[in-house]
């Protein structure tokens, strides 16, 4: 059997799962987005933009800000693990940073809701340390809470990927640069980060699309307006049974997420060319 055909045969069952259980319902929802009472049209989109434009911008802003913060955090952690001068400090960080990685999103939502609330542990600790008075305590259960939850949960995952890639960067170049007097920050930015961009991009894209899809965190931390598109979709379905607008909102977030995936595809194709 030709190797190409064999390869396709081996990949086909897994692709069929995606096709039947995801692409097909996805097409159904895409078609549903254009279905109106009297046929096809753009009415659902007009309604979606009319009611939820603020939430669309809010979602993009929140997820983009979180992605940037996750990237910075992951590079900082990975960089310190690779270049850190003191072995004890490196060991402490290696032990410390990973804890939130596998904590389910729904648990993250619940524990940060109690932690960031006005009478949560964060404010209570600040008050008892004398950093602020009880009156200054404020709730972080708004857009900041969502960003904190996303960064809290996703940074260790990207940092793990990035640190792994950094560990396999050639040490000789790093040591030569250090011997020539380059600061460790400069070595990180100019030598190490350029060699791990592919891994960093994969981690950040996975995080971006994950955050675009998470329903539990916005529901549990901030379900008031403005909120994330996922909460709006759930609301349209649960409260009104309005699948048209829900599907339209779903299609809008697909376009947002797939534009990021498209950027990744272009970069990886260019690298291979």
């Amino acid at each position: 059997m030709p190797r190409r055909l064999l390869g396709l045969l081996l990949v086909l069952p897994a692709l069929a799962v995606i096709a039947l259980l995801f692409i097909l319902p996805l097409v159904m929802s895409a078609v549903g987005a254009f279905q109106l009472d009297g046929g096809l049209g753009l009415g659902n989109f007009a309604k979606a933009f009319d009611l939820y434009l603020k939430d669309i911008l809010f979602s993009v802003g929140i997820v983009s800000l979180s992605t940037v913060l996750i990237g910075l955090g992951a590079v900082a952690i990975g960089g310190y693990l690779t270049l850190g001068a003191h072995p004890v400090a490196v060991t402490i960080l290696r032990w410390l940073y990973r804890w939130p990685m596998f904590i389910p999103f729904i648990v993250v939502g619940q524990i940060l809701r109690t932690f960031l609330a006005k009478n949560g542990m964060m404010n209570n600790t600040a008050v008892s340390l004398g950093l602020m008075g009880p009156i200054d305590a404020m709730s972080f259960l708004d857009w900041r809470g969502i960003v904190i939850a996303f960064v809290w949960k996703q940074t260790p995952f990207v940092a793990l990927l990035v640190a792994g890639a950094m560990a396999s960067v050639n040490r000789e170049g790093i040591e030569a640069a250090v011997n020539l007097g380059a600061s460790r920050l400069r070595v990180l930015i100019e030598i190490i980060v350029p060699q791990v961009t592919a891994t960093l991009a994969v981690g950040l894209i996975l995080s971006f699309v994950t955050m675009m899809s998470v329903l539990s965190v916005p529901l549990m931390i901030n379900a008031q307006s403005p909120t994330m598109l996922t909460a709006d979709i759930a609301f349209r379905v649960n409260a009104y049974g309005d699948y048209g607008v829900a599907n339209a909102l779903g299609l809008i977030s697909l376009v947002l997420a797939s534009s990021v995936a498209w950027i990744y595809l272009k970069i990886s194709l260019r690298e291979r060319a």
């Binding site: 259980l21 389910p104 729904i106 396999s168 891994t199 194709l269």
Partner: protein
């Protein structure tokens, strides 16, 4: 001179200690807050700590009508089945992506990302409608299938990375000694890829345990799962029950966190998504 340098290097522990301390507070603070809630009898504003401690919420959760045991059982069964089915699909696919010449390889890799790239909500609504037609709605099998479609990206991407990290020459050596393709795969390739496959199994297991949206639309109300119990308790303001459920979901996550680096080595990690 050396004494001065020693003092300076000790001084470095000031910023380090400050940063590590802040990190530890933000990582462990919420977890500690949750642990407090699991043993709280009475706690209200403006008290910084619970007023009364006790285990009454635990007896309520684990009472036959509390639902936790049923949810825990369902969640574990679904997660284990999801891992088995996902790996059955991902091992051949990952091997083909790593070793065989495939047309449109990048597009195929990207296809597995699709279920992660779309707000699952609207898709799961339509999946539920499809499953309802064929009698899969409200069954364990239905929930497993939804979780498989969601977890395949981890399974396939990590499996492909694990296979491509294996030295081709080892396989060629086995072949030149007369082993057939299947034998080489079973005796050489699969054992060498096992740590990476284990890591992908861990990711799929946790994805399934974590999954909320699909379980809600396809499973509920017939198949109760832990995340669903947590959400209903939390939105009902019952922080004790929500925190106990959260703890039940946390334990496997933390165990896996401690062991995952044993399976996911740098040579595999650097190949993920390539």
């Amino acid at each position: 001179m050396t004494g001065l340098r020693l003092n300076l290097s000790v001084l470095w522990w000031l910023p380090r200690g400050l940063i590590f301390g802040l990190m530890a507070f933000f990582i462990f603070g919420p977890l500690f807050n949750m642990l407090l809630w699991t043993v709280t009898e009475k706690w209200y504003f403006p008290h910084a700590l619970p007023l009364e401690y006790g285990f009454s919420a635990w007896t309520r959760v684990f009472a036959p009508r509390g639902g936790a045991l049923e949810s825990l059982g369902n969640s574990l069964v679904v997660a284990v089945l999801t891992v088995i089915v996902s790996l059955a699909f991902a091992i051949p696919a990952g091997y083909a992506l790593a070793r065989l010449k495939l047309p449109l390889r990048s597009l195929i890799l990207l296809a597995f990302l699709i279920p992660q790239a779309f707000p699952n909500l609207t898709v799961y609504v339509n999946v539920a409608r499809l499953f309802y037609e064929i009698g899969l709605n409200g069954t364990i099998a239905g929930v497993v299938l939804v979780h498989v479609s969601h977890g395949l990206v981890y399974a396939v991407w990590i499996a492909a990375a694990a296979f491509s990290a294996i030295d081709v020459e080892l396989e060629q050596a086995a072949r030149s000694l007369g082993a057939g393709a299947m034998r080489t795969f079973r005796d050489i390739t699969l054992p060498l890829a096992a740590p990476g496959l284990m890591a992908s199994a861990i990711f799929v297991f946790l994805e399934s345990l974590d999954e909320f949206t699909g379980s809600y639309f396809v499973g509920a109300p017939d198949v109760n799962m832990l995340p669903l119990l947590l959400y209903t308790a939390g939105s009902g303001g019952n922080y004790q029950v929500a925190s106990i459920t959260a703890l039940l979901l946390l334990v496997p996550s933390l165990i896996f966190m401690l062991i995952v680096e044993r399976f996911l080595k740098a040579d595999v990690l650097s190949r993920v998504g390539r």
